[in-house]
């Protein structure tokens, strides 16, 4: 039976590496690692009180070789006792899912697309409310704000890998002591976010050895977009579409160039009626009255705040909007605008069902 041992360099507070070893060796710290003077099982040594992990042994290194025999003997007693405890802990199984923490929601979603549930996610409450799908397991750990994740909680969740985005600046440096960090950036996207999302998914699939899952999810994406494009192509000319999300009674985010939605539009042959500037996440915040073009469809992305509900019921300016007079108004269930491949699949599916499913 083999046990995974993680070596923590106490002085530098970082992972110094890990290796699998036969259980018999656990009681012999000095043979396990030359500088290992203290060894104990259970929680993360940098985070006292952190819950014990299933199949791990933490070995703490001080960097100073221990010479005193009496000390070594005492330690050996402790270690033997610990080894006894470890016998009760189920050993690691080959093919166990990797323990990955994700700081941003687009990477959380990308992980899920590869069939890996993250152990920890930043602003979990917000994810459940705004990204909605894919749903995360109930025991996912919330590590706080994206811009300031709690290092204590993150370390306690015991990840093997931390995913973060470059737009979070020097955060990757700060996380390195806890686990290896991979900085993958979809947003802000300069060109086509979906292409970037696919690229990021491929990189992650290679890293986590999930190439099959990657092939599956890209195939699903292609299928869904073909399905949507076929429905759109029924029309004799390209559709003009506004995609808006109400912020309050008077203002909307209008999604266009640089958003995931635009990537789907482009692939399905849909034209965006908004040709104004957008920010790095592909939307512009504008007063409602600025939607001056006429369009075939005005799509209102949920959630619609209560303050704006009255507007949709028929305020004078809403009824007079060219897009409302000339086209159809649809409401679309929530999709995360700064998402990854799964969000694109979801958006294409919802679009096909709610907007283009005529007859």
């Amino acid at each position: 039976m083999k046990v995974k041992a993680t070596f923590i360099d106490f002085a530098l507070a970082r992972n110094a590496g890990e290796r699998e070893m036969p259980e018999g060796q656990i009681g012999l710290p000095a043979e396990v690692h030359p500088n290992c003077t203290v060894s104990r099982g259970g929680g993360h040594p940098l985070v006292p009180g952190a819950p014990a992990s299933r199949e791990r042994l933490y070995c703490c290194m001080t960097g100073i070789p221990q010479a005193r025999v009496s000390m070594r003997r005492r330690l050996r007693t402790v270690a033997v006792a610990l080894a006894a405890v470890l016998l009760l802990v189920p050993p690691a199984r080959a093919g166990d899912p990797p323990r990955v923490a994700a700081i941003t929601w687009d990477l959380t979603e990308t992980l899920m697309a590869l069939g890996v549930a993250p152990v920890a996610v930043a602003n979990l409450r917000g994810y459940r409310e705004w990204v909605v799908a894919p749903e995360l397991p109930a025991d996912t750990v919330d590590i706080g704000l994206r811009f300031a994740p709690s290092l204590t909680t993150l370390a306690a969740s015991d990840p093997d890998l931390i995913l973060t985005s470059r737009f979070l600046r020097d955060l990757p440096e700060r996380l390195k002591p806890i686990a290896p960090v991979e900085a993958l950036t979809i947003y802000p996207a300069d060109g086509d976010p979906l292409a970037r999302a696919i690229e990021v998914t491929r990189t992650l699939a290679n890293r986590l050895d999930r190439r099959d899952a990657f092939a599956d999810v890209t195939a699903r994406l292609e299928r869904q977009i073909r399905h949507l494009a076929a429905k759109v192509a029924d029309r004799e000319r390209p559709d003009q579409v506004y995609l808006v999300q109400f912020q309050d009674a008077d203002h909307v985010r209008v999604y266009a160039q640089g958003s995931l939605f635009q990537s789907v539009f482009d692939r399905a042959g849909i034209e965006n009626a908004w040709d104004g500037a957008t920010n790095g996440w592909g939307f512009a915040l504008i007063p409602l009255a600025q939607l001056t073009a006429s369009a075939d469809h005005l799509i209102v992305l949920e959630p619609v705040p209560t303050a704006a509900a009255g507007v949709l019921d028929g305020s004078p300016i809403w009824q007079a909007l060219p897009a409302v007079r000339s086209g159809q108004v649809h409401r679309l269930p929530a999709v995360w605008g700064a998402g990854g491949v799964l969000s694109a699949i979801r958006f294409a599916r919802l679009l096909a069902r709610h907007v283009y499913d005529r007859r």
């Binding site: 106490f10 507070a13 909680t153 996440w281 007063p287 209560t306």
Partner: protein, 661 residues
């Protein structure tokens, strides 16, 4: 009739006319862009068939024009009353925490009961504003609503509620987008509801003010003289303030936080020669209405050219501040003199108190280093674990300590030099300058690293200091003027920050984190920077404390004792500026500490300049280290920035002390 009083009657109409012409021109230009009034009447008769341009004119442009004038007038009237009642030329509807109270109430309503938001928006904002005022008045009650105390209490409540709101924005970023837009003062209208809400309420408020005209007019007298005239001043003050708050709350709940109008319009009216209460109550609202309308029309004109949403509330500052700065040049100490910085009756204390403060600091640091909130509870860490986590915890504790020290020194210097209890690094616009530098750097180079941001922030703060010193030198450092200039500058920087806030960029959250004073991003290089700044600032301030002693005696006395008063004041101001810039760049503009630490020191009896500097710096350290620790631990895993936590801890303590005075 004297020449002066004739001027007083002629000038305001003349300037008002000029403002009106400018407003008309801007409005006309926008109207022209929208296609003129051609389809107006047919649209009124048959709205269903009207062109979109006409509908937009009728339900967008026209109500917005009316609302901007009415809102401006209401804020100006409220500002006039507050400045008169508080005998403070820089009081404004915002100073009493009304806007902050209303904004917080709306944030809470949005989070707790979003389905009630439509029906309860106005009542909630009004309740929030009124509660904030009630709290302010309760704090000032024991001292017969002494203006200095009331202003101080208002400022504290403002900061406190603002901090709570910023915390909510940080934690519930996506849920509070609407509050963010509303809070920046966007005047977009799509129907006539806001106007029909505002107009009758404003009329009632103005009527009440007309009835209160006489007691308002004599409020510059002291309480005894007023009593001799048969007027009950405390009651009149409460009544007038209540009306002013009612006006403010109405405007704020309808159109959001529009800064500067309530401060600038009454000041403009006074500067243009409206001195009697009747004149001011007439002209300030007119000027305020014109000012906000002009600003809003300019914003609408610009919206066609610039991308993104332009909040009028942010831009009022950009329009109002230059006018204000220009007018301030001609201000020859006509304003009522500022209230002294004396708050306390505590006996003078010295070494024992200082010793206690500084001896307590190691304990606070020890607490911050060893007691942690882990996922399964609070615990005291073993020395080994403390050492292990030191690389990411110690820099935070140390930079918080350094920033606290710097802010304590800066606050003491500023309050002493300006003889103004409201003076603080933030109220002078220094932190705003640093912020603006960082915001601009972030926009120009989205991935900018820490050193670049540091440099940009320093430049911004130094630019403000430079501008402040040039201006102040020309006017001889008159306390009110320096503070007014600072507030004008700060409003400009708030405008820039407001623009970023509603641009919708998620970088806003990073900015908010920084604004709220997070130590999350500090590393050893930053710590070295703080330590260096502190090592320069504290000894210099202690060495130069004698200058402050001399300056307190008055410039003539100081000159007589061989001190070049102007130069000395300039140097001390520069020192305060450097301290502020260094602290702001490290842990954000934590104005509350810079404001509070000197007060606390003074309340503990450390009133000689040297003792106050030493005490305030020690208290600043303790306060910020404690705040950083609480912010890290209390909401685990969500971290509150230290500055925000400092407000939340220090604010309550400060209110308690204020109440006990």
């Amino acid at each position: 009739m004297t020449a002066a009083s004739r001027r007083a009657q002629i000038l305001p109409p003349a300037w008002g006319l000029l403002l009106a012409v400018a407003t008309l021109v801007a409005t006309g230009a926008n109207l022209h862009t929208l296609g003129g009034l051609g389809g107006f009447w047919p649209a009124l008769e048959r709205p269903a068939s009207a062109s979109y341009e006409t509908v937009k004119l009728l339900y967008g442009f026209a109500p917005r024009l009316a609302v901007s004038f009415v809102a401006g007038a209401g804020l100006a009237a409220a500002g006039t009353v507050m400045q008169q009642v508080l005998r403070n030329p820089i009081a404004s509807p915002m100073t009493l925490g009304v806007a902050a109270g209303a904004q917080l109430a709306l944030s809470l309503l949005t989070l707790l009961a979003p389905e009630l938001l439509t029906s309860l928006r106005e009542p909630a904002a009004m309740l929030g504003g009124a509660l904030a005022l009630a709290l302010v008045l309760a704090l000032g009650w024991r001292r017969q609503l002494d203006p200095a105390t009331v202003v101080l209490a208002g400022l504290v409540i403002s900061l406190y509620l603002g901090a709570v709101n910023a915390g909510l924005l940080l934690l519930f970023q996506h849920d509070l987008n609407a509050v963010l837009i509303w809070g920046s003062g966007v005047l977009t209208q799509h129907d006539w509801r806001e106007l029909t809400f505002l107009l009758p309420r404003l009329a009632a408020g103005l009527l009440a003010l007309t009835l209160l005209q006489r007691p308002l007019g004599v409020m510059t007298l002291d309480d005894g003289s007023a009593h001799g005239l048969g007027l009950n001043l405390p009651r009149a003050r409460v009544l007038s303030l209540a009306v002013a708050v009612y006006l403010t709350a109405c405007v704020v709940s309808a159109v959001g936080v529009v800064a500067f109008i309530g401060l600038a319009a009454p000041a403009l009216a006074r500067l243009l020669g409206a001195w009697r209460m009747r004149q001011r109550l007439l002209w300030a609202p007119v000027l305020g209405g014109l000012l906000l309308t002009l600003a809003d029309q300019l914003v609408q004109g610009l919206s066609g050219v610039l991308p993104g949403l332009l909040p009028t509330g942010a831009l009022t500052a950009l329009v109002g501040a230059p006018i204000m700065l220009w007018l301030l040049r001609g201000l020859h100490a006509r304003t009522p003199s500022g209230q002294g910085a004396q708050f306390t009756t505590a006996p003078s204390a010295g070494r024992p108190v200082l010793g206690l403060i500084w001896l307590g600091l190691p304990l606070v640091c020890l607490l911050a280093m060893t007691v942690v909130h882990a996922p399964d509870g609070w615990l005291v860490q073993a020395p080994g674990a403390v050492l292990a986590q030191a690389p990411w915890r110690l820099p935070r504790v140390l930079s918080a300590a350094g920033a606290g020290l710097l802010l304590g020194v800066a606050g003491t210097l500023l309050q002493r030099l300006l003889h103004n209890p409201m003076a603080s690094p933030e109220s002078l616009g220094l932190s705003g300058g640093a912020l603006t530098g960082v915001v601009i750097a972030t926009f120009l180079q989205p991935g900018a690293g820490h050193p670049l941001l540091l440099g940009a922030g320093t430049l911004g703060a130094l630019a403000v200091v430079g501008g402040l010193m040039v201006f102040a030198q020309r006017t001889g450092y008159a306390p009110e003027r320096v503070l007014l200039v600072g507030i004008a500058l700060k409003a400009v920087f708030d405008a820039v920050v407001g623009l970023v806030a509603v641009s919708g960029t998620p970088f806003w959250v990073a900015l908010l984190q920084w604004i709220s004073g997070s130590t999350y991003g500090t590393d050893w290089a930053t710590v070295a920077g703080t330590a260096g700044a502190a090592a320069v600032v504290l000894p210099l301030a202690v060495l130069l404390a004698r200058w402050i002693d001399l300056l307190t005696l008055g410039d003539a006395q100081a000159q007589a004792r061989g001190l070049a008063a102007g130069t000395a004041r300039g140097l001390l101001l520069l020192l305060a500026a450097l301290a502020t810039a260094a602290a702001t760049l490290l842990v954000g503009p934590l104005s509350f500490v810079g404001l509070m630490a000197p007060h606390l020191a003074s309340m503990l009896g450390l009133r000689r300049p040297r003792a106050q500097i030493l005490g305030a710096s020690g208290l600043g350290v303790g306060l910020l280290v404690l705040a950083d620790w609480v912010g890290r631990a209390v909401l685990l895993p969500y971290e509150l920035p230290a500055g925000l936590a400092a407000c939340l801890i220090g604010g309550v303590y400060f209110m308690w002390l204020l109440r006990r005075l």
